[in-house]
């Protein structure tokens, strides 16, 4: 089958196109228009938040790590931002920086626990998440702080039918792609995720690479927090982490063809993954699909997608035959 030839990223964009097409048709049959400005706006709006989280998540997953604390980090960041700004337009920059700093520190903590204490990232980041939750619930008894209107623009204004937040997300995605391609640290993330021993033997500073990935992931979550603050007009603790955003992000990353075991994939794919989820969301909304049915469909779609990627991987691992006559044996795969 010719799909085999296709490079994974391309395949995912093909899938995205497919989802858009099918969605469009479905909506059309339903008597609507998926591509009306309103729906486009809606679609893009939904990409930004998951987008920010998924971008960061891509980096850690590439390094064969994981970050289950991003939801909590985002919540924390939104709090820090809102309380620092506290309605004063002159403190916007300060607030934003503070939020990013804090989020970065959380990332650093994750990275340190994973790479230096050797705690499995699943547990490490889960624990850090709990710690943040505890802090927030104790410190703030609800939404706090006030975001000046000027900064709320980040959450509400758009250029034509594309929200600014989405543009920022895409810009960061582009930056991320560039980072992975053009900087040593970024490039080394593939090595660390691929085979940490080989990476170390080749002189890659594995620990600091892993740290960087986690710090950046934290900061991306920070940006997500800023978006939340901008859209809420205040900092919200309970909200951000009561919705398992981290799982959404991971789903988007995996949907984007990045291998959960690290070393393969990239941000281009993740963006497609995010878009797919957003398109589905919008389609479901426009078609008035029962909220619970959404979960079912999402779950099914994610599994199917990954199963397809896995299939492609399998077909790759066949050994190159010496005796073509026996090509049949090539697909038996090895235990």
């Amino acid at each position: 089958m010719s799909l085999r030839r296709l490079d994974t990223t391309a395949l995912i964009y093909l899938a995205l196109a497919g989802v858009v097409a099918i969605g469009g048709i479905a909506v059309a049959i339903d008597g609507g228009n998926l591509f009306s400005t309103a729906n486009l706006v809606d679609m893009f709006t939904r990409t930004s938040l998951t987008g920010f989280l998924a971008l960061g998540m891509t980096l850690v997953i590439l390094c064969r790590s994981l970050d289950l604390s991003v939801g909590y980090t985002a919540a924390l960041a939104s709090m820090v931002a809102a309380t620092t700004m506290d309605g004063d337009p002159n403190r916007i920059v300060l607030g934003a920086l503070a939020a990013l700093l804090v989020a970065g520190l959380v990332g650093a903590a994750n990275g340190a626990i994973v790479s230096f204490l050797g705690v499995n990232p699943f547990i490490a980041t889960l624990g850090v998440g709990l710690i943040i939750k505890g802090y927030l619930d104790t410190e703030y008894k609800g939404p706090a702080g006030l975001v000046p209107t000027a900064f709320q623009q980040f959450g509400y204004s758009r250029i034509a039918f594309v929200p600014v937040s989405t543009l920022v997300m895409l810009a960061l995605a582009a930056a991320g792609i560039w980072f992975l391609r053009s900087t040593r640290t970024g490039h080394h993330m593939y090595a660390v995720g691929g085979n940490i021993d080989v990476a170390r033997m080749s002189g890659v500073r594995t620990k600091s690479t892993l740290m960087t990935a986690h710090i950046l992931c934290g900061m991306f979550a920070g940006v997500a927090g800023l978006l939340l603050a901008a859209r809420f007009g205040t900092g919200s603790a309970t909200e951000a982490y009561s919705n398992l955003y981290e799982l959404d992000a991971i789903a988007a990353v995996v949907l984007g063809g990045t291998l959960l075991l690290g070393g393969r994939g990239g941000i281009a794919g993740t963006v497609a993954g995010v878009l797919i989820l957003a398109v589905l969301d919008t389609v479901f909304n426009v078609m008035q699909i029962n909220p619970f049915a959404k979960d079912v469909l999402r779950g099914a779609i994610i599994i199917t997608a990954v199963a397809i990627y896995a299939r492609r991987q399998l077909s790759r691992t066949a050994r190159r035959p010496r005796f073509a006559a026996a090509g049949t044996a090539a697909d038996t795969g090895r235990p």
Binding site: D7, T9, A10, Y13, S36, T37, A38, N39, V41, D42, T45, R46, L49, D86, G87, D137, Y140, K141, G142, P143, A144, G145, L146, T149, Q152, Q153, G155, Y156, S157, R158, I159, A160, V162, L167, L170, A171, A173, A174, I177, W178, L180, R181, L228, R231, F232, G233, T234, S236, A237, T238, E239, S242, N243, G266, A268, V271, T282, N285, Q288, P291
Partner: protein
Amino acid sequence: MQTTRLALASAAAVGLLLAVGCTTDEIPEAETTEEATASTEEEWFVQADYEEQLAQRDIEPEGDPTTPWLQAIEPEWVDTSEYAVDGGDHTVCFSNASVSNPWRVTGWITMQQQVEVLQEAGEIGEFLHSDAADDDEKQISDIQAFIDSGECDALLISPSTTATLTPAVEAACESGIPVVVFDRGVNTDCAVTFIHPIGGYAFGADAAEFLVDNLEPGSTVLALRILPGVDVLEHRWAAAQEIFADSELEILGNEFTGGDAAEIKNIVTQYLQRGEVDGIWMDAGDGAVAAIEAFEDAGQPYPVMTGEDELSFMRKWKETGMTALAPVYSNFQWRTPVLAATMILNGEQVPKEWVLPQEPITEAELDDYLERNEDMPSLHYAKFGGEDLPGFPDAWRDR
């Protein structure tokens, strides 16, 4: 390579869009700021609101007591002629925070039933709704989507969190379509009407006063709460604290249970291991039965208890004959918004702030309510107020 191409593409797109020109969903300044700052205070207790709500409990609401969902306490009627639209079959849109708990599920069914009636009557044409599954961010998108779609003649909003939804609701008001907010409020009065029962303070106070009246001085009370940070719930606890403060009762502690029955039973059991618990104060009925069972299993006498008008609790209450009260956060309020919307679209007057009656169910009324809801499921709410709707009882019974 794929990646670079994407980078370039996105860059190009940005440029293009900049050329196309920039729009913003307006975010009005004025009333937000000082109102919102009110919400930024971390203490949930606002003396004025507290006193107002306590007072409201004793005010006779206007309107026919047989249709409490149309009653209003001290309404300040506003003219809505500007929103009047000729003809019927209006498209009404509803952005729902979620149906993630039985109270909301019950209400949501009631609302749908009410809508059907109005559709029969030709008042409402299409009824579009979106569910944000408790995700504020998602609800903001949902509201925007409704505004942008331009299909809605009226927009009903049940905000998932007061403070965070404020900007979105303001944006909705700006769009010119009449906005009806109900249940949890927002920090702006831009909506045509804000519909809600008396409120959290009253709920918490009803419960707390009942305990104070029915327990000996010096008795111990355990407070069970669902989760922190949700204003309607925090107000209940704040009011309770007020009242407990000038009572002789000893508050053993206040625990967050997430409304999870197992968690509740664990906590109560552990408290019982360490000593007597004479009273239980709950900020919502979810899992109340589990709390009572904890006493049974520990072989302890039933506590004096306040739950909610959730049937499982009321039936247990009846069955055990314990001293209890079912404070009510009037579930029938889910009928009002749709009705309000049609009134507005017909240019009829509506209360600016539509305060619905909110009376706890006492021992005296217990049998009556149990009988009225006899074949309702256990997680149904007694004061759902849909008995006169055509779908009754099947719609609520077979979900």
